[in-house]
């Protein structure tokens, strides 16, 4: 991998985003390094998802800059994000509900192929080649994420936890350099969260990528992250190793309520 390691993979500098009077992000800055798992935490409404949407171009921020491998994403069209190596999942699961699980994942291969309308209609050899390549990777991902049982089922018809895995498979299919996961543990039980932690470490190693992880499940974040960034009301309140962030008084204050809630959560599960 000939990567320019001198600069971070993702650099967020002073990003500001407002919705009318609401300041969702008030000038947030941090870096995600190559091969890093970076946790992004914060209470509800602190701007985590908004930041994801700014990175993927769904929201246009009013100030600041986001650079990926040294290149500004500010004016990059949304549909080119996957091509440069930004893969993501959505907090509420954004699957193609009428399409089979197989087709959902194969849509992730869109940007790794190039055949157009005419080539497809005539089913030229290039289409078969692309299809074979995509199928090979599809089967690897079906195994990795244990989705064999539902391959031909419409994505809208499978349980929420399974849908999250389909979304992850779809994102991995795009061959991302940075995988952005918005609450992948939502709706998972205790043992499933453990599996998710293993899975994240495994894909980071095997697929040689970085992960930006938004998660409320403190346990999970602290366990897998190399680095954690904490937001509150659209401002960064901490940035460092999991231990540093956990010890930060600001974080303890912001999370006092949430930590208790988190414990109850763990107790219930």
């Amino acid at each position: 991998m000939a990567q320019d390691q001198s600069q971070p993979l993702l650099r967020i500098s002073g990003v500001q985003m407002r919705f009318g009077g609401v300041i969702a992000l008030g000038g947030v800055s941090f870096d995600v390094g190559h091969g890093q798992i970076c946790g992004l935490i914060g209470p509800n409404g602190s701007g985590k998802t908004t930041l994801f949407n700014c990175i993927s171009g769904i929201y246009r921020y009013s100030q600041g800059d986001i650079q990926f491998e040294g290149r500004s994403l500010t004016n990059l069209p949304r549909h080119q994000m996957a091509g440069i190596g930004l893969g993501r999942t959505f907090q509420n699961v954004a699957l193609f509900r009428n399409m089979s699980v197989r087709d959902n994942i194969l849509v992730g291969a869109h940007n790794t192929a190039a055949s157009g309308y005419i080539a497809n209609a005539l089913r030229l050899p290039v289409v078969r080649r692309e299809q074979n390549d995509a199928d090979r990777r599809l089967h690897e991902l079906l195994d990795l994420l244990d989705l064999r049982q539902v391959t031909d089922t419409p994505a809208g018809a499978i349980p929420f936890g399974w849908q999250k895995r389909v979304e992850l498979a779809r994102a991995l299919m795009t061959r991302p350099k940075l995988l952005m996961l918005d609450e992948p543990a939502g709706g998972l039980n205790h043992s499933e969260v453990d599996e998710l932690a293993d899975l994240m470490r495994r894909i980071r190693r095997q697929l040689n990528l970085s992960i930006l992880l938004v998660e409320h499940h403190m346990n999970l974040v602290m366990r897998v992250s190399d680095k954690v960034v904490a937001l509150e009301f659209g401002l960064k309140i901490a940035d460092g190793t999991p231990d540093e962030v956990r010890a930060e008084p600001e974080v303890i204050r912001a999370y006092l309520g949430d930590t208790q809630e988190e414990d109850e959560h763990a107790g219930a599960a």
């Binding site: 193609f96 009428n98 940007n111 497809n120 419409p154 018809a157 779809r170 709706g187």
Partner: protein
């Protein structure tokens, strides 16, 4: 896959049989079924697979029909040569209409395309184009004879010719929708924001799909013009657009086999209604349509895929989930048209449901 080949060969043989059994008007009716099937296929590609609603495809049908008629009468072009020309012309029109369509979603797109359907017959009548279009009178076309001295009547030949063109177009459409492009089309229909995040260029796919769709319906118009041997503005009123839309819904929007059912529906049900009641055939037609949509809410295609889904249902039970599927499966999906009408703003639609589980 082999199974589906066998099915298709069987269907094809079945489709050739009528030339031996039927003649005259009945054969003409079957030719029109083939023509409407191609027209509805064009709509299915746009509405069913890509989620762009069009209530104005009669306009593309008319443009195709007139392209063929003008080429044959004014320029003496052989009828079969007009088909590819008409395809290119209609694809061009479709592409151009597809551009403003990018800015319009749901109801607004439906209304805009409807306006197109209202406008086209009047444009065709306009005196500026009268030298070519024949104005209100329209154009009479010579009915082609069977080539190479084949022992076929003109009607038989027209049926087989239309069938041949249709088969080619169905094969191409089938290839298109099951591959990379078809997945992109369906992805946009189901979740545009996610599709874009997967690297799909929404504008490109939507405009090109519009072009392909218009091309299909336009070619159907050409075949229809040759079969009827006559074009006039009043044959392409808004009623044609509505009829095609009815055929689309009867067949089940995103189902390729369903388009054939839809074509049969719009060709024969009006006649049937006429037989039932001479006084109020429209009412009978309406009742049949409502009954059909009530019994098969996802159209014929949705019904077929529903059977298929039952087979999958048993597998879902194995993973502890038997939740029924709200919308159809894509093999023969009936797309929830009302649903696609209401997803104008995916980002905000998503925020609406962003309550934590």
């Amino acid at each position: 896959m082999r199974n589906s080949w066998v099915t298709w060969v069987f269907v094809l043989l079945l489709a050739i049989v009528p030339t031996a059994v039927f003649s005259g008007y009945h054969l003409f009716q079957l030719t029109m079924v083939v023509v409407y099937a191609v027209a509805i296929l064009g709509m299915a590609i746009l509405v069913g697979f890509n989620g762009q609603i069009s209530l104005g495809h009669g306009a593309f049908y008319a443009i195709g029909a007139y392209t063929t008629a003008i080429l044959m009468t004014t320029f003496d072009v052989p009828y079969w040569v007009t088909i590819p020309i008409s395809a290119v012309v209609c694809a061009g029109f479709g592409f151009v209409i597809g551009l403003p369509a990018l800015r319009l979603a749901g109801h607004y797109l439906a209304l805009t395309t409807f306006a197109l359907a209202v406008a086209v017959p009047q444009v065709l009548k306009h005196r500026w184009f009268e030298d070519w279009t024949g104005g209100v009178q329209g154009l009479v076309i010579d009915k082609p004879d069977a080539p190479f001295g084949l022992p076929l009547s003109s009607d038989q030949w027209l049926y087989l010719f239309s069938l041949g063109v249709a088969v080619v177009m169905y094969v191409l459409a089938w290839n298109l929708v099951r591959g990379r492009i078809g997945r992109a089309m369906r992805a946009i229909r189901d979740h545009a924001t996610a599709a874009e995040a997967m690297g799909i260029n929404l504008a490109m796919v939507k405009t090109r799909t519009f072009a392909v769709s218009a091309m299909y319906t336009g070619v159907a118009g050409s075949l229809g013009a040759i079969a009827v041997a006559f074009v006039a503005p009043d044959s392409f009123s808004v009623f044609l657009s509505i009829t095609l839309f009815v055929g689309l819904c009867a067949g089940g929007a995103a189902s390729i086999p369903g388009t054939i059912v839809g074509a049969v529906f719009i060709e024969f049900v009006p006649n049937l209604a006429d037989k039932v009641s001479k006084a109020a055939p429209g009412a009978v037609y309406g009742v049949i349509l409502i009954a059909m949509l009530f019994l098969l809410p996802m159209g014929a295609g949705g019904f077929l895929s529903g059977l298929w889904r039952k087979a999958v249902g048993s597998r879902m039970a194995a993973i502890g989930e038997t939740r029924p599927v709200a919308a159809g499966h894509e093999v023969g999906v009936g797309v929830d048209l009302a649903g696609s009408l209401s997803t104008a703003d995916p980002v905000h639609a998503r925020r609406g449901e962003s309550v934590k589980p």
